[in-house]
Symmetry: C2
Subunit: 389 residues, 2 copies
């Protein structure tokens, strides 16, 4: 059954190989002072930075910059960006990058006019903003997080070894517009591409593997997973395949813009464990998820057997004839494992720099949620992490 | 491949058995003068009218009414409503009903401040509004059209025997908010319920059966179709099953809010033929679609064989082993026919009051689009209509 919910996703999306053409018309809606936010230089190398700056200049904008936003944006970087945005009297934060840059912009957007410490307020206490929120626009250059059409924002605090995501309630924190050009993703290294693909897949899994009821959301999830599996195989063989990359980009947006979670419970424990691994290793987000996923899903499978069987049949085309439910469910996870290995995903946390002596700390840093088929205790998280080594 | 597109669907949806509780907070966003728009009295019989009026009164609104909006709203009714809305100096049009009432409100919303004839401007010349648009809100009591989250509006002109839908470009014409309570649909007669279900299914088909490329939209469509088939069978056996009705309601919204058409071509010829049948018979919309669908799809199937095969396998679980593509495709359509008969849908236009002597006229009233697998000429439409008798 679909539980009660509300839905409002007003982000305006421009999708396609001409989508940057629409930036100019969007810029007209905002004031003169734009803070351009980007990462480690790939936007400069591939020319997107120059294109965006030219459009901003032609629009008569005053530009300030926050550069060097790292893959796991830190709280120190957040404080730095808030100062730049305040000093520029910012009217629009324009993210040019992937999910980290977009997440970071949202964190700045709710902090510029906030007197409290944003880390404490938003990431420790999960409060909602009470101040005016600065609009965020996004030119997406990497795919996976879905940050282009949601309110999620993940910030890392290395001192306290915490990597925390806050999914804000107010849809004003979603980017007002996002420009999605699949061509921008063609230059990504293979490691980044497949890491993003697994992030997408896991977003769907987190929302799918929860709840016993029959609902439309799970059917949409199955469609998205099948599309992603198909397109990821094409992109893995042929990284310059625009068709596959465009489908992956669009699937990423819908995998995490609240739609497939509507009216149902969700899990998110792979993300919780993965984010704790990330806080200890600074590893690429998608790889932290791939490294812990199969130990986690094999552990919880008996508690959600019907759904894992459905996953095997509907997503992986496992033939159920003459098999027990458990055999079918395990074949589904085996098929998922084959696909993950085919893509070249990292399949254990050792390869990400984690070691056995970190496990207790990682487990302590793991936020325990209770939406999945099995509520985990500390010892069970330790056990899953050991199986992930 | 996903072609270039933009996407912005800002309608705020409240879904669930408590959703009317949110009407009050929405009303605060608009001025005092509300025009309440409803149909033939079922909203009064089942008490929803009284509940809404009480909320409006408690909010201190001045209420005017447009009642008696018919299942296929006429251009004369449109003119009448424009006058009522103008005289009331309307701030908000509040639809309480199904797709017809919601479609009708949109037509009024773009006409109140328009000096030109709305039928000529919007439905004959397909122009966009240049005037200020009156906001529309919706309390949905029937399911099928998706009107609660799109810009579509169908108006019928009996004099010229035309039933024309305009999908407006500006998302401001979407309802600003829609209240979706599956409980309201539990009192619908079986005929209306299954008619709505087939309308939903056909909306998906119109967008699915077009284009040769692999894309995410078609995978989402398959998920929505599978959800709908499953839930419709439950609702057909047990009309009071809230779970099934909630899934049907949510599927209806996503079947026609632009998502599953993004980046691809679409067909819409079943709707064009069905609407012409409707203009001649005034039959229930969904039944005009069910009555012409199978003759149409069997006619175009050879021109889109790969997609019809995919439909058979992915949606109807047809086993393709050892069969030709054509056999598989036909088995898919046979499975669809069995499901339609199981629901008790009208399977021919004779049962809707059409006769052979009307066919030439119906074919002449059919707007010919060219997005499907086969561009039809007049003779082919006549042939399909004869097979639909």
């Amino acid at each position: 059954m679909l539980g009660n919910f509300s839905y409002c996703n007003p982000t305006r999306l421009y999708f396609g190989d001409n989508s940057l053409e629409y930036l100019n018309s969007e810029l007209k809606k905002y004031g003169k002072n734009v803070v351009l936010v980007y990462g480690g230089g790939s936007a400069k190398k591939n020319g997107i930075y120059d294109e965006v700056v030219e459009i901003l200049r032609k629009s008569g904008k005053n530009i300030a910059e926050i550069s060097g936003v790292m893959p796991n944006p830190t709280v120190e970087k957040l404080y730095e960006g808030i100062e730049i945005a305040r000093n520029h009297n910012v009217d629009l934060l324009l993210a040019v990058g992937g999910g980290s840059v977009c997440d970071y912009c949202k964190a700045v957007s709710v902090s510029v006019n906030c007197d409290e410490d944003p880390w404490e307020k938003y990431y420790i206490n999960f409060e909602e903003p009470t101040c005016e929120i600065i609009p965020v626009g996004c030119v997406l250059t990497m795919v996976g997080t879905g940050s282009e059409m949601n309110t999620g924002s993940v910030i890392t605090n290395h001192k306290s070894k915490l990597k925390i995501g806050h999914v804000f309630a107010d849809e004003k924190i979603m980017p007002r517009f996002s420009i999605l050009n699949p061509k921008y993703t063609l230059t990504l290294p293979h490691y980044q591409m497949v890491s993003g693909i697994y992030d997408i897949f896991n977003h769907i899994c987190e929302q799918y593997f929860s709840g016993e009821d029959d609902n439309t959301s799970d059917y949409i999830s199955e469609g998205l997973m099948k599309s992603l599996i198909n397109s990821s195989r094409i992109a893995n063989r042929d990284s310059q395949n625009y068709e596959a990359r465009s489908n992956i980009m669009w699937t990423a947006t819908w995998a995490l813009n609240t739609l497939v979670a509507k009216g149902k419970s969700t899990d998110w424990m792979v993300h919780m464990i993965g984010q704790a691994v990330g806080a200890y290793t600074d590893a690429t987000h998608g790889m932290t998820l791939s490294a812990v996923s199969l130990p986690y899903y094999r552990f919880i499978m008996p508690y959600g057997l019907a759904k894992f069987k459905r996953f095997a049949v509907n997503v992986w085309d496992v033939d159920a004839a003459g098999k027990t439910d458990e055999q079918v469910a395990l074949e589904g996870l085996d098929a998922m494992e084959s696909w993950m290995k085919e893509l070249g995903l990292v399949m254990n946390i050792t390869d990400l720099g984690a070691s056995e002596d970190m496990i207790e700390g990682i487990a302590n840093s793991t936020l325990i949620l209770n939406g999945g088929y099995k509520s985990l205790n500390h010892e069970e998280i330790v056990q899953i992490l050991k199986q992930s080594l």
